[in-house]
């Protein structure tokens, strides 16, 4: 797959896809999307990046091992559920705060962090699968 056309385009496409995935993640609470879909898009991005440019650059780009990213996602999701313990609410109860940043109300909430956790799990796990499969191809 070493063709100029492919290898040149894909890195930019990857950034676009990652960006789009975060967009889908963040607006998922109000529009179609969410952590899972976002995560799938991002994982697709890394998968195609790996196909085009090889697995090693993707691994270096991610810095952490994909499974560690996935694990951090699960950790984040669970901790965002446990957070409600500290305000005397039931497990996973959504806690919301609307701090004013740069003039706009930003909704920060445990469901958001939960969704980010979902995103990270999906990105990590699916990328790990795709990369591992691509890697074996080359040896």
């Amino acid at each position: 797959m070493r063709t100029v056309i492919f290898r040149f385009t894909i890195p930019y496409l990857t950034t676009l896809m990652v960006l789009f995935s975060i967009f889908v993640l963040l607006r998922g609470h109000n529009e179609p999307g969410g952590g899972f879909i976002g995560g799938l898009i991002a994982a697709s991005a890394f998968a195609i990046y790996g196909i085009a440019c090889g697995v090693a650059p993707v691994r270096r780009a991610l810095y952490f091992h994909p499974m560690a990213i996935a694990a951090s996602g699960l950790m984040m999701a669970v901790l965002s559920g446990v957070a409600s313990l500290f305000v005397g609410a039931k497990f996973l109860t959504g806690l919301w705060a609307f701090p004013a940043i740069l003039g706009g109300d930003v909704g920060l909430s445990t469901p958001l962090f939960f969704d980010i956790g979902v995103y990270l799990v999906v990105v990590g796990a699916i990328s790990s699968i795709a990369l591992a499969l691509e890697e074996r191809e080359s040896d």
């Binding site: 998922g28 609470h29 109000n30 529009e31 179609p32 999307g33 969410g34 952590g35 899972f36 879909i37 799938l40 898009i41 994982a43 697709s44 998968a47 994909p66 499974m67 996935a70 694990a71 996602g73 699960l74 999701a77 669970v78 559920g81 497990f91 996973l92 959504g94 919301w96 909704g107 909430s109 469901p111 939960f114 969704d115 956790g117 979902v118 799990v121 999906v122 990590g124 796990a125 699916i126 790990s128 699968i129 795709a130 591992a132 499969l133 691509e134 074996r136 191809e137």
Partner: protein, 785 residues
């Protein structure tokens, strides 16, 4: 019973177990001398029962216990009456001697501690068995005796015969035990009573119930297997693989008598019916005669003794079956006598083995001079066994003949069996006790010698006791046989028989028996070879049958298992699908729950197109000639399903379905790149048609049930709730997402755990490769990388 007495009682019951726990340590410290402190346990228990004897002899019943498992209505309760008291005294008394005997007999054996432990555990189990009042508690002890005897018989585990004997005993007695359990549970449930005392007090209820026959058969299965009745007797001679103290103990006083104990115990509740008086004497008499013949046939003195035990048990069962007061009295007298003389003779056999290093009767002779004490003990026991006065064996035999002297065919037949059996046993007794000690000493025997005091103490004591019992028969009847017979009859029984012969029919028959016995003794060698020829001609016996049954069981199990567990995934899957189809159609047909005939659906044409795409897509997958075509075709239905979701108002689903479908193809392509599969995997019609029929049935079932479900009214309250509070409380406009992260967030948590774990599992699959071949068992040095 007072609190202190009860506590002492529990302690007495626990003593053997405590000693068993201490035995390994004590033996390590004291070597064979550990037998002395260990013998203290049964001795103390013996004293406990001895001190209770006067009260019991007065007809009192001592009851003590506590609620063990109230939820299951099981009490840890005990009943000391004449029956259990005498048994307990025999168990603990002979037990004390056996422990001492083992100290000498197994001196220097590296597993002596283990042996002490097992035999003491066995003692504890046996003791518990005979004093248990609760039916379930009784069974617990019953099985404990099986378990411990398994360990004892297999003690010399390096020999296959010992292992076989242990398994055989466990299989036969364990199997019977399970039947007994069933019987006891039926009794419990039927009467609503859980203690033996209550059952005995329930009168004729059991005999009158519709369940009498099954109960009796189940209980007899337990008793007959344990008490080695034909054809279950085979385990007993094979149990001689155990060290001699075990044989002496298990096969004289104790384990084999457990069945007899049970019959005596339940006789008042279950006995005295036609069935009882038919089955028991039938089995008993056959066992008596066959056992006695086999005893003569055996050339190993231990085996001879084992078969005489079988015969004796037959005699006991026969007498219990007759069930008259005299018969029970005879049984009781014989039981005690047998315990004494047989325990002694087994120990004698052990001493001979110990001193002369053989048990083959043809290789023994002339030991009397070098082993005088053993010879004495042997003669004391043999005289008792032969029914010669003034020994307890005489009292028993007189009483037995007295019990059987009726003119009807039933009693005459039994009498004939009794005389034949007794005569044979007489001969066998002297074969064991006399032959080895008299005549010329064969050259094969070197330096025969008397054993340590612990070795001759046991047999001598038992022999002497057999004499004393008869001499002081008044006290004997007052404290031992009388209360025992009373308890077994369920009413007071007075026993009068003494050691002074009276000239009556019973005595005449006794003389006849002795005369016959002498003749048989003289011709014993010839009889033995004759019987051996006969058995060789028959060529089959229950012992061989046991092996055949075991092999048959294993082969049968193997065949069945191989049939059911074919190792083929397609067969497993077929079975699964068949069951699914049955589950779908069974209730639908059985309860006529088919859906109503639906109207033809009215859909927009593009909806038809999309639905049609699904059908076309799966059709394409099925007809695809190779896997790759199938994989590419798979995309069609995936896209079409995503479009269905979009058309029906599920954008999130559609979104996800598109992504998943794409990623599925990507991963499939990545994997397929690595696979080099044989080109064609298309199945011939012959193979695929049954699958297709099954699959169509399954699909139709799922579809029909779905239709039926959707034709019912629907309760959408959950979704109404979510719609109402999605934005107002959970601040989310996308209700589906709010359900995922808030309303049902924990589902999602589980779901991402699945995703993460799948990722890790796949990584492990791809990365971990088989190392060295044969590296099945982990190498602990590999702990650090």
């Amino acid at each position: 019973m007072t609190g202190i007495e009860a506590t002492t009682g529990f302690l007495a019951l626990a003593l053997p177990f405590i000693a068993a726990a201490l035995a390994p340590i004590l033996t390590r410290l004291l070597k064979q001398h550990a037998c002395w402190p260990l013998a203290l346990a049964p001795a103390l228990a013996f004293l406990f029962f001895l001190q209770a004897l006067p009260a019991v002899a007065d007809g009192n019943v001592l009851l003590f216990g506590f609620d063990w498992i109230p939820s299951f209505n099981v009490r840890f309760s005990f009943r000391i009456d004449g029956l259990s008291s005498t048994f307990a005294l025999l168990i603990t008394g002979i037990g004390t001697l056996i422990v001492l005997y083992s100290g000498g007999y197994l001196a220097g054996h590296k597993d002596q501690g283990r042996f002490f432990s097992f035999i003491l555990m066995f003692m504890g189990a046996m003791l518990g068995l005979v004093v248990s009042d609760d039916l379930i508690t009784l069974f617990v002890y019953w099985e404990l005796t099986s378990i411990t005897s398994f360990l004892l018989i297999g003690f010399d585990h390096h020999r296959e015969a010992a292992r076989r004997g242990a398994i055989q005993a466990l299989v036969i007695t364990g199997g019977g035990g399970l039947a007994l359990l069933a019987g006891l549970i039926v009794i419990r449930e039927l009467l609503g009573l859980s203690s033996i005392s209550d059952v005995l007090a329930a009168g004729d209820t059991l005999r009158d119930s519709a369940f009498y026959v099954p109960i009796l058969i189940l209980v007899l299965c337990g008793a007959f297997t344990k008490s080695a009745q034909m054809p279950f007797h085979v385990w007993l001679p094979n149990a001689m693989e155990a060290p001699t103290p075990v044989s002496a103990y298990l096969h004289s006083a104790t384990m084999v008598k457990a069945g007899v104990y049970l019959l005596l115990r339940l006789q008042p509740a279950l006995g005295d019916t036609t069935l009882w008086t038919t089955i028991l004497p039938l089995f008993g008499s056959v066992t008596l005669v066959v056992g006695a013949l086999l005893a003569i046939r055996a050339s190993d003195i231990k085996i001879t003794l084992a078969y005489t035990t079988v015969a004796s048990l037959g005699l006991l069962v026969m007498l219990i079956g007759v069930g008259t007061e005299a018969a029970i009295t005879g049984a009781v007298l014989y039981l005690i006598a047998h315990s004494l003389f047989k325990g002694g003779l087994f120990m004698v056999a052990g001493s001979i083995d110990h001193g002369a290093h053989t048990r083959e009767i043809d290789h023994l002779g002339g030991l009397g001079r070098s082993m005088p004490i053993t010879f004495t003990a042997a003669m004391l026991c043999a005289l008792s066994m032969g029914g010669i006065t003034p020994f307890v064996g005489f009292l028993a035999k007189e009483e037995i003949y007295y019990a059987l002297e009726h003119g009807d065919a039933y009693h005459i037949a039994l009498m004939v069996a009794a005389i034949a059996g007794n005569a044979l046993m007489f001969a066998a007794a002297f074969v064991v006790a006399l032959k080895p000690f008299v005549g010329q000493m064969p050259e094969t025997i070197h330096h025969p010698h008397e054993g340590a005091p612990t070795i001759w103490l046991g047999p001598l004591t038992l022999g002497v006791l057999g004499l004393l019992g008869a001499l002081f028969y008044g006290a004997y009847h007052a404290y031992f046989s009388g209360p025992m017979a009373s308890a077994a009859m369920g009413e007071p029984v007075a026993i009068e028989i003494g050691w002074v012969p009276h000239l009556n029919l019973a005595f005449m028959l006794s003389l006849l028996t002795i005369a016959l016995g002498i003749v048989l003794y003289v011709f014993a060698t010839r009889l033995r070879s004759g019987l051996a020829d006969l058995l060789a001609a028959i060529g089959w016996g229950p012992d061989k049958g046991f092996d055949q049954a075991m092999r048959g069981l294993l082969r049968g199990a193997f065949a069945i298992t191989n049939f059911l567990q074919s190792g083929r995934l397609d067969i497993y899957m077929t079975v699964t699908v068949i069951l699914i189809v049955a589950a779908l159609f069974g209730p639908m047909i059985y309860m006529d729950a088919f859906p109503a005939l639906p109207d033809f659906p009215t859909l927009a044409f593009y909806e038809w197109t999309v639905l049609g795409l699904v059908v076309l897509g799966i059709f394409a997958v099925v007809i695809a000639k190779n896997r790759l075509t199938a994989i590419v075709s798979l995309g069609i239905q995936g896209f079409a399903v995503a479009l269905i979701f979009m058309l029906l108002g599920a954008p999130d689903l559609s979104f996800t379905q598109f992504m998943v479908e794409t990623l599925s193809v990507v991963i499939l392509a990545l994997v397929m790149t690595r696979l080099r599969l044989s080109a064609a995997d298309h199945r011939p019609l012959r193979e695929s048609l049954p699958d297709a029929v099954l699959a169509i049935a399954g699909g139709a079932g799922f579809g029909l049930f779905l239709l039926a479900v959707t034709q019912r009214p629907f309760d959408a309250s959950l979704s109404d709730f979510f719609e109402r509070y999605s934005y107002t409380i959970a601040h989310g406009r996308n209700i589906v997402n709010v359900i995922l992260v808030d309303f049902r967030g924990i589902d999602t948590m589980g779901e991402i755990a699945v995703v993460m774990t799948a990722g890790l599992a796949i990584l492990a699959l791809i990365r971990v490769r088989v190392g060295r071949k044969g590296e099945r068992y982990p190498d602990p040095t590999e702990q650090t990388p």
